[in-house]
Amino acid sequence: MILLHRLASIVRWLVHRNGAEQDLDDELQAFVDMAAADNVRDGAAPVDARRIAVLDLGGVEQTKERVRSARYGAWLDEVARDVRYALRMCARSPSFSAIVVITLALGIGANTAIFSVINALMLRSLPVREPGQLVEPLFKYPRDPRLNSYSWKQYERFRDQNHVFSDLIAVSRDRFQVTGRTSGPEVVDGMYVSANFFDALALQPAVGRVIGPQENQIGSPSAAVAMISWSYWQSRFNLDPAVLGASLIVDDVPVTIVGVMPREFFGLLLGMDPALWMPVAIEPLVRKPSRLMNGSLGGAIVGRLKPGVTREQAQAEMRVLDRARLTELEARMHDVQWRGVTIDLEPAGAGLSVLRDRFATSLLLTMAVVGLLLLVACINVASMLLSRGLARRREMAVRVALGAGRFRIVRQMLTESLMLSMFAGVCGVALAYVGAHALVKIIASGRSPVGMPQPLQIPVHLDLHVLLFAAGAAVVTGVLFGSVPAWHAFVSAPSSSLREIGGTGETKPWRRFGQSLVVAQVALSVLLLSAAALFVRHLTDLRTVGLGFQTNSILQVTLDWSRSGYKPRQMGPLIRQVLDRLASMVGVRSATLAGMTPISGAAGSQFINVKGFTESPDDRRRVSLNTVAPRYFETLGTPLIAGRDFAPEDEGRPRVAIVNQAMARYYFGASSPLGREFTIEGQARPLQIVGVVGDAKYWDVHETPPRIIYMNAFQGSGLTNPIFVLRTDVPPMSLAANARRAVRDVLPNVPVARISTLAEQVDASILPERLIAMLSALFGALAAVLVAIGLYGLLAYTVTRRMKEIALRIAIGATSRDVIRMVLTSALGLVSAGLIVGVPIALWVKGYAASALAIVAATQVERPITLPVNPMAHVAIAVVAMLVVTLIASYVPARRATKVDPMVALRCE
């Protein structure tokens, strides 16, 4: 009750401030009048009566002030006053304020941008009922990423046999050709869902109804229903509610739209926004033959733990239930590695783990980098404010003389700092908005994990969490850098007297402190720059070292044969014609065919049997396979070590193969593999080895080159949809138009599906590393700029302070070179101190950065190679960069120092 009264009166006070002030004034006047009247009655002269009354009151203004400060909400007044004053101060030096705000906004913006992506991928809960209870079963086959992928049959088995989940749901992604009354045909992402999906997640439709248990009649026409996503509803139907009951043609089957998905729900799988949601029972209608019926339809499973069941208990039961599947896989695939596979249950309340697994480490690493950047920005601003605090000593002295307490002044300084950081926070959020979208674009440019759409759609919003983060960052930085000038004011306020400030006097400890702030910035920047150098170097190494093939000047062309009507038998000669045509183009050095090109995200593998070679079943590993045309190795730059390349003449002769050195070493040791034979598991006809080539990476750049067998594309069944691979003498993409024309000339009815370079393909596969290298280089550079600004500020100030000394020196014969040397010495002194602190830390952190990279690599392959790291080199790069920055920052102050006119400077005093 009382609280309400107080609140109401605070509001009244804020709203009717002028009225209330007037009221108080009137009341005190009335008081004085009455007292004066009484004094007159007691015999005082009318003139004195009023004076006595005012004296008695103890001063009208003082009383008013006491009333004001006794009020509840008085602090609001004071804050408002502080803020007004702070605004005036900021406005008085707009360029200074702008630099501070920009510096901090960059730091806060970078942090908020990265955080918003982390928030979207790792923190934000799905908008479903009790997301905390959701878990997903993941298994891991050696060398593969963790998978949540089970056959639909297996899902039903889990669903019916478990005792630990209150609901077990499954979803399966597919792509559909959709034609609406006014739209399409177009190909969209869609999801099959189990009939209990919406019930289990308690999802409410935006309009219409959800898909329910009544739609579980497999293949029945009643299952031909769909929900559409909000964004699809918006883009294709203009949010028209009449969409309910409308019909879509999905892969030739009419499907009735029964509802629209909730606007904020994009599915369980982060990274996509499927347009269509349909019951899995529809699958036999739209797919012939049905993968659901023949057991090959896979899906991701999510379970809701029963109350009281822990994740560990559920995991134990799932492992038992999964036994049968693993045993069957081992038997069917003749692969003992399935024996070691177990299910882990992971929380799925923030969505399925695919993107988290791939990007979490790199995002956290980047977060650490931007955190450091913000710290540098903070120190930078602190040192700027400190030197301004020194310049404002006169103002402070005036305020102390006028009766301001030291706490009052400290509060004022802190208010100013917080105002600046709040401004910066607002600008930072704007920057983060732009930055986060750029970041998402970069992430989407990478290769999507298996089963995800390309490009990824990551819903990054500046939601409440992100805004709170930005506000938190702004307040923390404000307090951090604000405490320096505030402390300075606190310490120096009592001693501030106008007389003393007359000269340029300045306390030595504070000067030292200002210098140490620059030293700290240099140290942190060395850290950032050397980490950036390491990350960039690591990226170039990944792109080049030990690849075993060339990425530059390689163009790949794939065709879309699907609507051509050619039978595979007819395609062989046509493919040769296209190949000949492409090979004869100007600028093409060599051309070949390949079933797969390296680092494409997919590759074949098989078990093989080598005559005269035995190994224990446990050691049996698959061998990677590729089918290539003659001149493949020449085109990709993989060296032929022994034997011969494939030849067109091989066609129709016994099958031949070329193996790489890793394969030759493993199966044949020191003896020559040439002429030896092997069979591929499940095939009877042997292949004879005719050549050995150098090791080359195949699946992933992080791995050691696997054992590879190459087969001749012009033998056996050959290739049905090969990739045309061209080595060019000119920038590869410049040949794209010619290549299209060449294909059209030979095959007018077969469109080109895709033209890309091999370098692009490799880059798409190392997105996390590219992200880290790109961002750390960007932010490292930014930190260096901040250091330059900080150093420049300090040197400019030093030159001004030592103006008299410099003038004297020039007067007694110092040359400009001496003066420049003097300024440079003091600059280099500071930077060296920073380097002395920073370099050991950088060397120490290096180990962590390198192991972080190893972790990033491990998110992509099982046993990543370790590239050698030369820590000294990267630190050296950072040191050189810092020295260059020093020279740039000292240029202007040094020039100004040489321009000092002794007469003018000395007369000043």
Binding site: M1, I2, H5, R6, S9, D23, L24, D26, E27, L28, A30, F31, D33, M34, A35, A37, D38, D56, L57, G58, Q62, T63, R66, V67, S69, A70, R71, Y72
Partner: protein, 108 residues
């Protein structure tokens, strides 16, 4: 005669007591306080007005401008129901405190 300091926390109680009899303006309250305390207490307006404003903000008092008997305008404070309750409570507590203190002093 030397004035006494008003003991901590008793000013509100005395204001409420004075206003319990009839609504009164600030000057009137200070005069009445002097009379009732037989001139032992003299309340400084610098203390009186903050107290009045705070009691008003807490809803214990309600203020309105009214003409005085001498035909001036003054801001009159009167007790609200909640103020009356507070007066009861505080008076009761004060009685116990002063009884307790007196007992100690006389028993020693």
């Amino acid at each position: 005669m030397e004035k006494l300091d008003i003991p901590q926390g008793t000013l509100d109680l005395m204001i409420l007591t004075i206003l319990a009899r009839e609504p009164m303006h600030g000057y009137g309250i200070s005069q009445r306080l002097a009379v009732l305390s037989r001139d032992h207490f003299h309340v400084n307006p610098g203390s009186l007005f903050p107290s009045l404003y705070r009691l008003e903000q807490d809803g214990k008092l309600k203020a309105e401008w009214r003409p005085t008997e001498n035909n001036r305008r003054a801001k009159y404070y009167r007790l609200t129901a909640s103020g009356r309750r507070q007066l009861e409570q505080h008076r009761e507590r004060w009685n116990r405190v002063s009884f307790a203190v007196t007992s100690v002093l006389e028993g020693a």
